[in-house]
Symmetry: none
Subunit: 190 residues, 4 copies
DNA sequence: TATGAATGAGGGTTCATTCAT
DNA sequence: TATGAATGAACCCTCATTCAT
């Protein structure tokens, strides 16, 4: 089926974009990786940019779905926060996934860039909303929740730049550490 | 003389690389911005890549100098940590500066990339060292200090992606918030 | 059946070739206009060039038929000349028809090009023959009849470049004017 | 000098465009003919289309200059008409020149196409003006002068399609024949 | 009879870099 | 010190055509 082939190509391209960057990946590289001809690429996608857009859009949609799942679940706010942190961490430790998401978006058309930004805003918005409720309940300290949300995402997202998933610290532990830093801080009490 | 012109060119290039990315900036763009001919660029620099390398190297060296200054100063460990955080935050809110540092380094030669990584390791190493001492003194909780250092850098560095220096939150306040999150966490006590 | 479909495709292609030129019309354009798939085109025609050839050949054959009809008819030579002029004018004012006939024939194979030229020669030959007879009868002035024939075709054929069939001058009037210029010239007598 | 090289390239391109058509001529063909590299073409011209535009514009400007020269000269109206006819004929018998001017303009941008049309309108306008004056003086018959002008241009321009400059009829004779047909018509008097 | 899938060949254009001056 | 001129290499994309079904 056409959509299956599209998925194969998207996966091949995603890997290359993550490895070498968008501009340093040629359509021939992608075609070779997907085991089709260069021309065939254009049977499945309108352009190289469209390919990148679809990859990013899928990734973001998937993240959005997960965060919405958590949002709707019947658990405490603190538990929701914890789950989002876990979820985001497990994404962030996937080098290729994060490398894609921080990819230089200068090669994306204005229209597509706006669509992606919209999804990103939605994603962050979900977290901010939870933080807002926690704040209203005085369960967290009185801090600008937007800053809080981005501080959180930054801390976690940055992991792709240094974390080695095959090292001695397992992803679950990493998530636990982030959780501790974020919720309790690092200073010893007393 | 020559070095002055080099600096002009580096500044022009740095701005363009930050704005449009390395691959999307042509040598002609840089030459125009520096008000010289395209060919003249090659009198001052060996290649476009060398230009990027020098820009990144200068930036990192400057950061390294600052962190070494703090390291040597005669203040408490906690105070040092605080100062590093402030310093890093004030860099991170400069969009162009950070955009450069997270720039796609796929276009940099292996040799130069190693040199940059070495400097980065030095930089992070300074922070880890301070955290290690704090940990030894039981002034902070028992957490892997490498994770801690990167969590810290991530939280702060990510700011270039969302923070607006002209918005209602001033850089100093942002630094203060990061400081609070990092040192005390976000949960209300009691 | 097959021939009917061929005619539909030829008509669709003829319109597009006239509008956008042969090279600027893709086989996909033609297929879409004929409401079939791109691949199906090749069930009905050997190639894009063959399609163009058939279109031109049909058009020319039709012209040739008409001129032969006139040639055979039982009317005076001057009347025949007049009828040819009318016939040719009514073709020439059809933008699409003429645009096709002056289309860049660089994309046509040598063999096909020769076949088309042969028909064109036949067509012109019929007019020259009539002019020759008129000349022999001293009904027209002593001018090289080949030049005369082409002067005539040129004057009329050129109309596709400027004449607007929906303007104030009707095709019949245009034909009349051409007739007057050609037969009597433009200078006032006396 | 840059402009001299441009002229060489334009000439090479003009010949190829006339021979093979615009779409069937590659930039590599042009570069080879002008004895430069394909890339160098873009040092002298913005695009292949720009090259065609400049060629056509130069040709038309030259025609416009000539017709303006005639317009201004101190000779009778009939003499002016005669001179325009001579001038136009000597252009029309140059196969390559005319082939260029009737070239498929579908590949030219809207803006450039309008500029060319404007020049063409100017050119025709000069002839129409002379015909209008002749008509006012009752030196020619009462015929729509626009039709007259185009009939004239058509008759002459068409020559590129059949006339052989090396044949038995010399260009000057051809011009004379056209003049006769156009001014006196072809029917014998009496 | 009809077409979805696939592609070889090639086209216009870009760009970092070189070099003679 | 500075650059106009030039280009090799490569890139994204298009298109007529084929073929298994």
């Amino acid at each position: 089926m056409k959509e299956q082939k599209r998925e194969i190509i998207r996966n091949a391209a995603a890997r290359l974009f993550a490895e070498k960057g968008f501009e340093n990946t040629t359509t021939r590289d992608i075609a070779r990786a997907a085991d089709i001809s260069n021309a065939s690429l254009y049977y499945y996608f309108d352009s190289k940019e469209e390919l990148l857009y679809q990859i990013l859009d899928k990734e973001m949609s998937s993240g959005l779905d997960m965060i919405m799942e958590i949002e709707k679940s019947d658990i405490s706010l603190k538990e929701k926060l914890s789950r989002i942190l876990q979820m985001h961490t497990s994404s962030a430790v996937d080098y290729n996934k994060m490398k894609l998401l921080v990819i230089d978006q200068n090669s994306i058309s204005h229209k597509n860039k706006e669509a992606l930004k919209e999804k990103q805003r939605d994603y962050v918005g979900k977290l901010i909303k939870i933080l807002d409720e926690l704040k209203k309940n005085r369960e967290i300290v009185d801090i600008d929740t937007t800053v809080l949300a981005f501080a959180f995402f930054g801390m976690v997202s940055w992991a792709y730049r240094w974390y080695n998933p095959n090292g001695k610290i397992k992803p679950a532990e990493l998530s636990e550490i982030f959780h501790q830093i974020f919720t309790k801080g690092i200073y010893s009490e007393g």
